[in-house]
Amino acid sequence: MLVIPCPHCGPRCEIEFSYGGQAHIARPQDPAAADDATWADYVFMRDNTKGVFLERWVHSHGCRQWFNVARHTVTYEILASYETGAAPPNLDLESQA
């Protein structure tokens, strides 16, 4: 069970959180202009990264805020957490993977 550093509340046990999948998936600005493949890619397709993965969590049983986490999917090490909308921290993702 992970210890997740909520940017607002500090480190808390995983049971307080819900998972939100891959982060930094932008909703197309003009969905009507997106072709079927582009739209399907946005709705259905996500990376299955071995290594550092940027993912969304929500502190469901705490501040109820969404935020992003950089987590290594092999070691489960959490390298960073940061607020929604912020740019991901400057991690050397290649060497971590």
Partner: protein, 1005 residues
């Protein structure tokens, strides 16, 4: 029975506290401090069970958690537990235990025929033998499972209480043997917050098995006592005895089970039976010790054949002679220690068969000096004795240890102590994702690099000398405290000092030759619990299973409840020896939690019965109860299902309620509807984006129905939202969906549209909601709503306004889920019951009838209104539902809009919502029934869809049903068949989904 094998002195037992217990119906006496195993041995009882597959008599092998044989059913009736290791059950007065896997009795067991027929039961036998005919597998399985049983589940519900607790510490030390105690002392002296967990009742671990060790110049037991006192005096140190660390998870999360009152025999008092510790440690020191390995030789499983160190433990800790005449069989020094201790306890040690050609080491020097007979380069090649070993045959081996040189010498004995080396207990290390490596000198796997903030110390780390263990443990504790951020104090002191003694040198012969041709020799067991022999492993290899993981699964070696604590390395060794490979190339099997089995009760804790899940009741709940309502669960809510009157069936009650709501007035408690208060300047824009229809033009004081989709275009919720002010809305959701809908809305607000000025608040519990419905609803409301204008000008269909109802401030919305004129009256939750009672009183003259969810379902189905989750299942779009009218064409975007034009979504053969009318109006289709076209022939028959809702409609005088049918809207008037499980086929006709008042005249007068 007298304890005829009890030594007159020594041990850590209290001879003054005699405890009576019963095993397999016979009464015995033991002493305080005994385990069930030691107490049985004190009474000369070795035979404690029958083996899993061959039903061979089995005895106590070990003195600890690794026990594969002596699995016990403890207790009776509801308070009983199967598959407990007799070696870990602390004796208490009145203990009742039974052996397992025998019928009708342990001494005479019919299943033992399996042993005679063992040639018919090779490894994988049930895959091979019972494959044909396939339909008989169920019968085979029953018989196989019956004869290959473990214990029995308790009868009745568990009478005990269990607790859970969370804890944090700087340093968790697992295991309180010499290494763990030294680690805890070092960490504790440094000021760290330490938890020391020990599965045994005593601190000291292996020190209790030994004899004569001294630490810092004092007898080991005095040092243990001093360490305990020092640790107990430290405010930041918690000692948890009888506490098993069974699982090591991510981020140094370690789960422990504390057996709080098990040793008192069910006298729990205010204490729980067991407690689950969910522990987060900054640093972990694993001092989990090591487990001795059996030797694999013909006939190595008879009762009386025990691990050498277990014999030492029974002699030294429990003051029990495991037998009167012993033979020792060893490949290392440990067997010699057992021989010395047994001889000192008055046991006649007939011989030590040592696989080593030239035994030398600190212990073998002592056995030689003591004049014990040591037979070097020899092996036990066969054993005799039905329910207890009575004779062993010892033969010299050729120099490379592959053959017995002669027929050998027979020696009588009643106990055979064996030692095949030691396995560090790597279970927790491995669970922490640390990688193990094979140490060929030690002949065992040892920890490699750590994956978490953890270190191993002592024999679990491949260090076997006492002084080395103390030094390594002490250092590990000190380092762990420092790594946890504790500044080292000046009171650290030095590591305790003791003598060193190793089990090396050793000679590794993984399968001991028998001197007989294969098949003639007795079975040489590798896995005692799952009855896997060396020949089974070799058979698996011959049949092409090469990977150790496949061998393991095919033979089931290491897959018992003991997880192969005594068998895994021997199995890998034999596979390596047979394949001519090195052990590291063969691999290691995975260790999984729990280390030893954990009861379900401790996982459940207090979360049982009423505490399993919160129960939500409306403020009017007590009235419903008094009225005799039957309730149904909707999410966590209890909702009245129907209100039966005296003598009424459910069917009669629902019909009466449905008719009343159409003919006079019905009243329903709708409090459970989810309510979300929406405020902010961008609220209308927000609603535009989350609902399919347009919200910008909705006037203050008006309501609108909305469908909510996910981004894939599928319906996830529906409900009515009222505009209360310029920037103020109240959204209602389905009862079960209130929390998910709020989470969905919050997610989009926070992650996609943080620029919108919108604030969401759940107000479900703040309001009680009562719906009155029917032709008399307006008249009834007028009677209690004072001077509020209820005319269709002031409060039209889909209008909302404030007023007072029965003197209570109320918000009244004229909305309808029944198709009748309906009012939804919202009042503060505390006034809900008063409102309900006032309406019931005032409604008497209109023959008002309370109705429940079942009648509500019938009423809405008559109108063809969907229920999200009944007509929809996450794969249904508004178009499928025929609700295109609510999907805005003008809005450029809303959640799910783009998906509605995906090719799959616009296919004409998608399932669409239709009505169904059965040919026989009395026939009510079962919900879930599949529908097919034409005559029902041989399968496969293409399924067109299924019935989603089906009721008898008293207002229509016939049955009605809603269904999702492929291309359903093009099938109007078509006849379909519903083949049922009972063999009948029901004919029905496809119609529109609205059965009653399609023009909506009842709503809009």
């Amino acid at each position: 029975m007298t304890q005829s094998f009890r030594l007159p002195e020594g041990g850590v037992i209290d001879r003054g506290r005699r405890l009576g217990f019963r095993f397999d119906g016979r009464d015995y006496m033991g002493c305080a401090g005994d385990t069930l195993a030691s107490a049985l041995l004190a009474n000369g009882v070795h035979l404690t069970g029958r083996s899993f597959k061959y039903h061979r008599p089995r005895g106590i092998l070990s003195a600890g958690a690794e026990e594969p044989n002596a699995l016990i059913q403890l207790g009776e009736g509801a308070r009983c537990e199967p598959n407990l290791r007799a070696t870990q059950i602390e004796l208490f007065d009145g203990l009742i235990a039974r052996s397992q896997n025998r019928w009708p009795s342990l001494d005479f067991d019919i299943g033992a025929l399996n042993n005679r027929m063992s040639r018919l039961l090779p490894s994988g036998f049930y895959y091979k033998t019972f494959m044909w005919p396939a339909s008989f597998w169920m019968k085979y399985e029953f018989i196989i499972r019956h004869s290959a049983g473990l214990g029995q589940a308790p009868e009745g519900r568990d009478p005990d209480r269990y607790d859970k607790t969370f804890a944090h510490c700087d340093v968790l030390v697992v295991g309180a043997g010499p290494s763990g105690l030294a680690a805890a002392l070092a960490a504790g002296r440094g000021g760290a917050r330490v938890i020391l967990a020990e599965q045994d009742a005593l601190l000291g671990g292996s020190l209790w098995s030994g004899n004569g060790e001294t630490i810092d110049g004092a007898p080991a037991r005095d040092w243990i006592e001093a360490a305990r006192r020092e640790l107990e005096a430290m405010a930041e140190v918690t000692i948890l005895t009888r506490t098993l660390a069974y699982g090591y998870f991510d981020h140094n999360f370690v789960a422990l089970v504390e057996r709080v009152t098990d040793h008192l025999g069910g006298v729990a008092g205010k204490q729980p039976r067991q407690r689950l510790w969910k522990l987060r440690a900054k640093q972990v020191v694993l001092a989990t010790g090591a487990i001795e390995r059996p030797l694999v030789f013909a006939g190595n499983d008879r009762p009386g054949i025990m691990l050498a160190d277990a014999c030492r433990t029974y002699v030294n800790r429990f003051a029990v002679q495991p037998g009167k005449r012993a033979v020792v069989f060893t490949n290392n020094e440990s067997g010699h220690l057992a021989a010395l201790d047994m001889a000192a306890a008055g046991i006649d040690v007939a011989a030590i068969a040592d696989l080593r050609e030239d035994p030398m080491g600190p212990a073998s020097e002592r056995t030689e000096a003591a004049g014990l007979r040591v037979i070097p380069g020899s092996a036990v090649v066969g054993t005799k004795g039905e329910r207890r070993v009575k004779q062993v045959r010892i033969a010299r081996l050729n120099p490379d240890g592959t053959q017995a040189l002669a027929a050998g010498e027979n020696l009588d004995c009643d106990v055979l102590a064996m030692s095949g080396g030691w396995n560090p207990s790597l279970h927790l290390f491995s669970q922490s994702r640390g990688k193990v490596r094979f140490d060929s000198g030690l002949g065992c796997f040892v920890p490699g690099a750590s994956a978490q903030a953890e270190r191993s110390a002592g024999s679990c780390n491949g260090v076997f000398g006492l002084n080395d263990c103390l030094a390594q443990g002490f250092n590990a504790g000190k380092q762990a405290a420092q790594d946890a951020g504790i500044k080292a104090g000046s009171k650290g002191g030095a590591a305790p000092q003791a003598g060193n003694g190793d089990f090396l040198p050793a000679r590794w012969i993984w399968e001991v030759p028998s001197g007989k041709p294969a098949g003639r020799a007795g079975k040489a067991f590798v896995d005692f619990q799952n009855d896997v022999t060396a020949n089974d492993l070799k058979l698996a290899l011959r049949e092409g299973y090469e990977s150790i993981e496949h061998v393991k699964r095919y033979t089931t070696t290491g897959m018992g409840t003991d997880q192969g604590k005594t068998s895994n390395v021997n199995a890998i060794g034999i596979v390596a020896q047979t394949q001519g490979r090195e052990i590291p190339d063969v691999g290691v099997t995975t260790f999984r939690p729990p280390y030893t089995p954990v009861t379900f009760g401790v996982f459940a804790g207090r979360d049982v019965d009423d505490l399993l899940d919160p129960v939500r009741k409306t403020p009017i709940h007590d009235w419903h109860e008094r009225a005799g309502a039957a309730f149904e669960d909707v999410g966590q809510w209890k909702r009245p299902w129907y209100f039966p009157q005296a003598g009424e069936t459910m069917h009669q009650a629902v019909n009466r309620e449905v008719k009343a709501a159409r003919e006079s007035a019905g009243i329903m408690d709708a409090t459970t509807l989810g309510k979300i208060d929406i405020q902010g300047r961008d609220s209308a824009e927000f609603l535009n984006r989350v609902y399919t229809n347009a919200w910008t033009k909705l006037a203050v004081g008006r309501c609108r129905y909305g469908l909510m989709l996910n981004e894939a275009g599928m319906v996830i919720d529906d409900g009515v939202t009222a505009r209360l002010g310029e920037f103020h809305y109240l959204m209602t959701t389905t009862s079960g969906n209130a929390a998910p809908v709020l989470a969905h809305l919050e997610e989009y607000l926070q992650t996609e549209w943080p620029d919108l000025d919108v604030h969401l608040t759940s107000v479900t519990d703040q309001f009680a909601t009562v719906t009155i419905s029917g032709p008399k609803a307006r008249a009834l409301l007028a009677d209690v709503a004072g001077d509020m204008d209820l005319g269709s000008q002031a409060l039209p269909h889909m209008g909302v306004g404030d007023g007072r109802v029965a003197g209570i401030a109320a918000r009244i919305a004229r909305i309808s889920f029944t198709g009748e004129m309906s009012y939804e009256i919202n009042v503060p939750a505390s006034c809900g019951l008063a409102l309900w009672q006032a309406l019931m009183t005032a409604g008497a003259k209109y023959a008002i009838v309370p109705y429940g969810t079942e009648a509500m379902h019938v009423l809405r189905a008559e109108k063809g209104f969907i229920i999200v989750g009944q007509e929809t299942d996450g794969s249904v779009t508004p178009i499928d539902l025929g609700m295109d009218w609510i999907v805005s064409k003008k809005k450029t975007d809303f959640i799910g809009k783009r998906s509605l034009t995906r090719p799959d979504i616009i296919k004409p053969d998608r399932k669409q919502l239709v009505g169904l009318l059965t040919g026989d109006p009395k026939e009510v289709l079962p919900e879930g029934a599949h529908l097919v076209e034409g005559a029902v022939g041989q399968p496969p028959v293409p399924m067109l869809g299924h019935v989603t809702s089906s009721y008898e409609s008293p207002n229509l005088g016939r049955s009605i049903a809603l269904a999702m049918i492929k291309g359903g809207r093009d099938r109007m008037g078509q006849s379909l068949q519903a083949p049922l499980a009972d063999g009948r086929t029901i004919a029905c006709t496809v119609t529109g989904p609205v059965f009653l008042d399609p023009e909506g005249t009842r709503l809009n007068d």
